[in-house]
């Protein structure tokens, strides 16, 4: 068979040579003698060429060759021919089965080369003859081609003559290239393919054969012992930065995973790790693809240059450009976040997301979406359910276990460190308040209607109450959700406060009882507890006072008030010292229960108490003055009863009476105007402002602020504030003076009544006289009493009394006017505008400003 084939080949070659030689373009074709030397030469030459060591330099791929021919034609501008050829190629390739051409690629390739040769020959017809036919005498039998193998046994003698047929420039280039390759091989101990594989390993954090992690250099390097050019060393080092970064990120992740059950990494930290892990798996995918590609050669058609593997170090550096950016970012984040947790971590990552590069921006956004999801989940459950699911203390709302009354004020607060910067301060406040409202409703109000409000809010915001419906970057969605939830829940809370817990009614009750707004009640209370309170403080029984309070309520219009409100009104005795009287320690108290004690806290109640004490004192002074007036009423003293007295004594009596009247009037003017000012300019105005603010209050904080303002304005205007302490002190001294005046006046009138009684007695029968004598002796228990003395002694006593009284009254009047002057001079110094009105009222007739130039 082999022999037959060889015979066939030589026959065919003979035929071919014959054909080629006889084929003549010119007309004078003459048959060629097969035995002519010419023919034999040619035949020998042909055999020699065919036995050369030339091997096909292309892959046996018919389609690729066809494609290359077509492209060649197309580039030459023969597009129609190219199309025809493509058509023919397909048809040709489709011919299969017996009788068809087996080596289709060879036929196509042959045609191609012949065409190219012919073209080249035509282009340089002149030079073609001068082409040097290079011969390599040292033809190596090791590089046998198929042809030489098949022919070798026969044509041994021709083996030395090998013709390398190729175009000159290409030939030269090839030689140069081979030389270069040899040079490169000499210089490089390691070939590039191995390095590429090593770099790919290094980028997965694994030491390669040559590229290894060097602790001193802190990076992957080729050890100095391996001989590679500097350029390669540098590029390897550069590429392996990726491996270094990878190690860092991977190290962080595994560290977190290891730490997780024992220490608190936090849900945000876990989410961050998971996101990083995902990014790394993307990176793994890329590396796997690259690794697979690195083994494949570059598909090149008809290149004489032996094609290298697809991946070179330079190509790798292109492939690595994008992952490098991402990996660097991840490494930076890992560094940043090592010590951070929770919201702070999200905030730190967010700062890095502010980047102009769309690639980085997109990457960070993806990462943040994952990282922030636990945070947003916390926000959602806090805002809609009031749940603080924060076992790792990552959320920016921190809860503290407190009593119910301080839940609103101290129960929850913002943790500034954990607040990520993409949530603004005001939004955070709203978030805090909304959740707080829910908790307040749940704990303090025992209300469950908020759940409906929350569901409604979530529905309105477009997201359902399901988990994971919010994400990073959707600030508007978040804001609208929170706004909706806050609005509804705050409204619900205020509804509960107003309707169920009657906030307004309680405020009004406090105003009426603690701020003495209910006049008849206060008057009656003052009447019945007055005698009791004059006793020393330590002898007074609270129970008795409570009973008296009850009586006062029942006998005034207060009895028609809500029993729930009246139930909360109590008597309170303040801690007292030894010398205190009942007046100093008595006060009323209003018991604001949960949830109202959020508004009426202990400190607020203490301020109410302060106001109450002031008002109570004012009332007492007023009450005392009224009591004095009752005894002073002119018709009680019928002047005719004194007709029997001496003229001088009578004059004295009248003058002291008059002096007393004038002083009383002066004091009454002051107290009445002060009372008026407090009641109408202070209490009612503040209350009216408070009511209107209560109407527009949107949430509990507004309400608290309004109440605070109300209380503050009362305290400031009624001179109880910090700044008006001296004024307040002088006011209390004035009050004391007035009370002293009252006792003096009482004594004066007692004396007068007694005098009157004595003078009447002298004209009465002795039985009555004795009786009234006994009565009087009960009243005045002084040993040196003038009862029973003679008329002269009586007159003398009266003179003495009036003199003393006159002196006392003078002293009091003097002190009073100086104190009042001091008080009035201090008034304009005060900041409050309203105090100007008080001054105006007191000094309406400019009596005081005229009498003293200092005003």
């Amino acid at each position: 068979m082999e022999e037959e084939d060889q015979q066939k080949v030589s026959d065919l070659i003979k035929e071919l040579v014959l054909r080629l030689l006889s084929q003549n373009p010119t007309s004078d074709s003459h048959p060629i003698d097969p035995n002519s030397p010419d023919f034999r030469n040619s035949l020998r030459y042909a055999f020699r060429i065919l036995s050369s060591r030339m091997t096909p330099s292309v892959a046996p791929d018919a389609a690729a060759i066809g494609e290359s021919i077509k492209r060649r034609l197309a580039t030459q501008g023969k597009s129609s021919e190219a199309l025809t050829l493509a058509d023919l190629c397909t048809k040709f390739a489709s011919k299969t089965g017996p009788g068809s051409v087996n080596n289709k690629w060879a036929v196509l390739y042959l045609l191609k080369i012949i065409a190219e040769d012919r073209k080249a020959a035509r282009n340089q017809l002149d030079s073609s003859a001068l082409l040097p036919n290079l011969a390599f005498n040292d033809a190596d039998s090791g590089h046998d081609s198929r042809v030489s193998r098949s022919l070798g046994s026969k044509e041994k003698g021709w083996r030395n003559g090998v013709l390398l047929v190729s175009k000159d420039p290409e030939n030269r280039r090839e030689i140069a290239f081979r030389e270069f390759m040899n040079l490169v091989k000499e210089e490089n101990e390691v070939c590039e393919e191995v390095l590429v594989r090593d770099v790919l390993y290094a980028c997965q954090g694994i030491d390669g054969k040559y590229v290894k992690f060097d602790k001193n250099a802190d990076g992957y390097v080729i050890p100095d012992l391996v001989k590679v050019p500097r350029a390669t060393r540098i590029i390897v080092r550069k590429l392996c930065e990726l491996g270094w970064l990878f190690r860092k990120v991977k190290g962080y992740i595994s560290e977190c995973m290891d730490r997780f059950p024992a220490e608190d990494v936090g849900t945000v930290g876990q989410a961050f790790c998971a996101a990083l892990q995902d990014e790394l798996s993307e990176y793994y995918k890329l590396l796997a693809v690259l690794e697979a590609q690195s083994m494949n050669p570059i598909p090149l058609v008809s290149e004489k240059v032996s094609s290298e593997n697809y991946l070179s170090l330079r190509r790798l550096s292109v492939w690595f450009a994008e992952p490098m950016v991402k990996m660097r970012l991840m490494a930076v984040l890992v560094d940043k976040c090592r010590v951070l947790r929770g919201g702070a971590m999200a905030g730190a990552i967010h700062l890095h997301a502010q980047h102009g590069d769309p690639l980085v921006h997109e990457f960070m956004k993806r990462l943040l979406r994952r990282v922030c999801s636990p945070l947003f989940e916390m926000v959602r459950s806090w805002v809609l359910e009031g749940e603080l699911e924060d076992i790792f203390a990552e959320f920016f709302v921190v809860g503290q276990p407190v009593k119910a009354e301080s839940l609103w004020r101290d129960g929850y607060r913002l943790h500034a460190g954990m607040l990520p910067s993409f949530i603004s301060q005001s939004l955070a406040q709203r978030i805090l308040r909304t959740g707080k409202s829910i908790n307040f409703l749940r704990v303090c109000c025992e209300d469950h209607g908020w759940a409906d409000a929350a569901t409604e809010a979530a529905a309105a915001a477009g997201t359902t109450t399901r988990r994971g419906s919010l994400g990073y970057g959707e600030t508007e969605a978040l804001e609208s959700l929170i706004d909706g939830a806050a609005k509804r829940i705050d409204k619900h809370l205020l509804d509960v406060m107003y309707k169920r817990y009657k906030f307004k009614e309680h405020c009004l009750a406090i105003k009426r009882y603690l701020l003495l707004g209910q006049g008849d009640f206060v008057q009656y209370l003052m009447d019945i507890v007055g005698p009791e309170l004059s006793e020393p403080a330590n002898t007074i029984s609270t129970f008795k006072l409570a009973g008296l309070l009850e009586t006062a309520i029942r006998s005034s219009n207060a009895q028609y008030d809500d029993p729930d409100i009246l139930d909360r009104l109590r008597v309170k005795m303040m801690p007292h010292g030894t010398g205190d009287r009942g007046w100093d320690v008595f006060s009323l108290e209003y018991d604001a229960r949960v949830p109202l004690d959020t508004v009426f806290t202990e400190s607020v109640m203490a301020r109410y108490l302060k106001i109450f004490n002031f008002l109570w004192k004012l009332r007492r002074v007023e009450h005392a003055l009224i009591g004095a007036w009752k005894t002073m009423k002119p018709n009680c003293i019928t002047s005719h009863s004194f007709t029997k007295l001496q003229r001088a004594v009578k004059l004295q009596l009248l003058s002291s009476l008059r002096r007393c009247q004038v002083l009383w009037d002066d004091m009454n003017h002051f107290v009445t105007n002060l009372q008026y000012y407090i009641m109408f300019e202070v209490l009612e105005v503040s209350w009216s402002n408070f009511s209107s603010e209560m109407e527009v209050a949107k949430d509990l904080d507004d309400l608290l602020a309004a109440h605070e303002k109300y209380l503050h304005s009362i305290i400031e205007k009624s001179l109880l504030g910090e700044r008006s302490q001296t004024l307040c002190k002088s006011l209390f001294v004035l009050f004391d003076l007035i009370l002293r005046f009252r006792s003096h006046a009482d004594r004066l009138y007692e004396g007068i009544y007694e005098l009157q009684a004595r003078t009447m007695e002298s004209s009465l029968p002795s039985r009555d006289k004795r009786k009234s004598q006994r009565q009087l002796s009960d009243k005045v228990s002084e040993p040196g009493s003038w009862i029973g003395d003679g008329r002269k002694a009586l007159t003398q006593r009266a003179g003495e009394l009036f003199r003393n009284m006159g002196q006392d009254l003078d002293a009091i009047a003097k002190e009073y006017s100086s104190l009042l002057e001091g008080f009035l001079s201090q008034l304009p110094v005060q900041q409050h505008v309203d105090l100007k009105f008080l001054l105006f009222r007191l000094d309406f007739t400019e009596f005081y400003s005229r009498s003293s130039p200092s005003l």
Binding site: R44, Y45, M54, L111
Partner: protein, 77 residues
């Protein structure tokens, strides 16, 4: 050879000849068929092309300069 195979062979040759014309190789039908036969026997197409090229060159030299005493191949031997 059955008629089917013969027809396929002829058609293949037609197609190859057509392509050869399109590419302007200057080969006639018979030469082409010889070349295809050689290719099918596994000879290197590059070598075959070289033979075609060389023989053509020598023939041109023959026709231009008679007598063909010094052809390129003979000078090499």
């Amino acid at each position: 050879m059955d008629p089917d195979a013969a027809r396929t062979a002829r058609e293949s040759l037609d197609l190859a000849f057509h392509m050869s014309n399109v590419l302007d190789t200057g080969l006639d039908r018979h030469t082409l068929s010889v070349l295809i036969a050689l290719c099918d026997l596994g000879l290197n197409p590059e070598a075959l092309a070289a033979v075609v090229k060389e023989l053509r060159t020598s023939r041109e030299l023959q026709t231009t300069s008679s007598p063909p005493t010094s052809t390129a191949p003979s000078s090499l031997s």
